[in-house]
Symmetry: C2
Subunit: 437 residues, 2 copies
């Protein structure tokens, strides 16, 4: 069986932890049976490998998440979108990858599953049954539906007659939800079993392509639309498999903290005894004191500070949308960086970063048109290159990089640098010219 995990959105609903590179699925918030903390991605990979030991596993994502994913998914293969669009383009790209890169036949079936699902092991076992709905010829699309445990107004519902899908209802009122549940409706888990050829046919309605590279090239011609709207809701032949067990959307601070076993994550957190049902996540290195409050979540990160009542935490998105700010932390192919301070000014801007380069890795040979840089090595040993000249560096070494000067650095042991950028106006990540010599 082939399983494609969708690792998508930036999820403003979990701001300030949900920027592209540092999003909820990578945080070690959940405790496994051995009492160790694991991320949502690690949990899903573990459950999947146990339920489907022989499956080929692929992860559909984008470049911003690639480095973080690599750390969590082990040997699974990444299918990277050239730009973020929506689930229809992402699933089409996955189908093209399986056909052109993995040389599978168009009749082969694959199962798409969200990477941020929180469910029991049984859920992952049932993926075989969902596949069989299609591979047996019974239906064109197979879905997984969870037996509802309350009339949620936030989920999508699958209407059914027996195992045949009769329609969909998206985010109904509670009364409406109650009514359709009585008629046997299921929570739609966002799992699809599909034939490769069926998906490629739909993509072919927008783009002519005969290779993976050619679909990548024309990716921006695919509509920004969900697979549900673009394909599933127009299809008549759909079968559903019923799952009975825990199924949760950990997409709000309220639901996510419900699954945390402790009430805090991070260092230097002091919570007074007078606090009730309150969770604190501190990603900063300054202390956080939380005193005498109830039913709240407090989250700090380099992107911002959030204090929210748990009930109201599902209404965060409109507030987070008002924030337009450069990312303050990113994982990269060679390590990671975080911004310590950014002061913008038309005459003289400055940006200070801590950069960590993993042993044996290098920052690409590059230059900048709009800024000079200074690197101060604060830990580890490495080799820097400036305009072709190499030199060894160690703690205390200072590397001055003038505007336009080509430079790179390689880490012998794990290397940490403080970088000071000086320029005028905006200092942006995009001001990088990579040099290939």
């Amino acid at each position: 069986m082939n399983i494609v995990l969708l690792s998508g959105g930036s999820g403003k609903r979990l701001w300030p932890l949900s920027n592209d590179a540092h999003s909820k699925q990578f945080l070690k918030l959940l405790e496994n049976d051995q009492g160790e903390y694991e991320s949502m991605v690690e949990r899903v990979m573990r459950q999947l490998l146990s339920a489907q030991p022989d499956a080929g596993i692929f992860v559909s994502s984008n470049a911003a998440q690639a480095a973080a994913l690599h750390r969590h998914i082990g040997e699974a293969e990444l299918i990277l979108e050239p730009e973020r669009r929506d689930t229809f383009p992402a699933i089409a790209l996955a189908a093209a990858y399986l056909k052109y890169r993995k040389h599978m036949g168009e009749d082969e079936v694959f199962v798409v599953c969200p990477i941020d699902v929180y469910a029991d092991g049984r859920y992952f076992e049932l993926l075989s049954d969902v596949e069989r709905v299609v591979s047996s010829g019974e239906s064109i699309i197979g879905l997984l539906g969870a037996l509802p445990v309350y009339p949620s107004a936030k989920y999508g519902y699958i209407l059914r007659q027996g195992n045949r899908v009769a329609g969909f209802v998206e985010k109904p009122s509670e009364a409406e939800a109650e009514r359709v549940i009585q008629e046997g409706a299921l929570w739609n888990c966002g799992v699809f079993a599909l034939r490769i050829g069926y998906v490629l046919e739909h993509a072919g309605g927008y783009v002519d392509f005969d290779s993976y590279a050619s679909l990548i090239e024309q990716y921006s011609k695919l509509p920004v639309n969900s697979f549900d709207y673009e394909v599933v809701e127009k299809e008549k032949s759909i079968g559903a498999v019923i799952y009975e067990g825990v199924w949760k959307d950990l997409g709000t601070w309220n639901t996510l903290t419900e699954e945390m076993r402790g009430n805090s994550m991070g260092d230097r957190i002091l919570i007074s005894d007078s606090c009730v049902n309150t969770h604190v996540l501190n990603m900063l290195d300054i202390p956080v004191i939380v005193n005498d409050i109830c039913d709240c979540v407090v989250v700090t990160s380099h992107d911002g500070v959030l204090v929210t009542g748990k009930q109201g935490s599902s209404h965060l998105k409109p507030l987070a949308d008002q924030i337009d700010f450069r990312p303050m932390y990113e994982q990269r192919r060679w390590g990671s960086y975080r911004v310590l301070e950014y002061v913008r000014d038309d005459l003289s801007s400055s940006l200070v970063k801590r950069i960590r380069v993993e042993a044996g890795k290098s920052i690409s040979y590059q230059y900048h048109n709009g800024r000079s840089e200074v690197w101060v090595v604060v830990r580890g040993d490495g080799v820097r290159t400036i305009d072709g000249v190499e030199s060894a560096v160690s703690p205390g070494s200072v590397i001055q990089i003038k505007m336009g000067q080509k430079h790179s650095i390689s880490a012998v042991t794990e290397l940490e640098l403080i970088e000071v950028q000086v320029g005028a106006g905006d200092l942006v990540e995009e001001d990088i010219v990579r040099v290939y010599e």
Copy 2:
């Protein structure tokens, strides 16, 4: 008349804004009649100059607050304790200053008043009446008492018979407070009128001194004790003046935010409409979102993040006492600095600061034994000196300072630097050897 304002404690009760250099009395939180924001110190100085235009005003404080005070008190004279002890030593030092430095007679009376009082203009007019209690010969000590408006269990009470003080009750139960209020007790405002000689006599019980310098030298021999316990509660001849009007201790987040007119201070603050009676102060440059909470105070600073219910905000001190952390922001004679990051390690520690030097000022000529430093100029023009050699600097200039190398920098225009310290183990402010040539 001579007035000594006591600007003392670090006030953990207002953590994270209450470290030594950056404490509540310097924050522009209060709005004056012209709609401009002013600090508690500015408010008191304005009220005092208006009520007592001819008074000599002195401020008793310590070196950590000196730079911040200079910005807020205009021409008032500073009396600096060599180390922080308590109010008895501080008032003794003030008396010695008035005698030996200002050449006042021992019979002269001075009035001591807290600098962080929040009261009406009338309060400051009455300081003349408090002085007259002593200068008329009526009593040895004069006090100011506020007419209580509720039976607070947090204040000290003056028991009285007419205008004669009959005793004191410190932080009684509410029932006890109710009882003493019915007998005419007053809230003790912490104002004392005293003869210089009377105070010096008490100090003489601990230390032999015949000059200001000699008391400074033996300052550590004075007991760490409050003036109330050491002197006032043992004195029989005390008169009280009654003040009727607003008198508040703005020493907790609850009482302080009551006097803020807006509900936020700082940039990048988003408060949802669903929040009730909630105040947010953001001293960081990252955004803060506060959503769906009631009766809370949220405060961020480079020292930490606080989220507290308003009622419980008077119980913060024990929590804040658990935090032992270097100051992250300080005002200095030449400007200010703030720590962007401090990573401590036995082999290689690093500390990154943004330093601001005011135009025309200089950092003293100094060297360090335990660290090397790199300065990157990010704004302004100046002159740096390394081992006696001067050189002009401007944005982008890099100055490398090896361990033990003498260095200083002067600002021509306002200068901003990023400083990177590299060393091993703790990197502390105290590792400065100042060079006088």
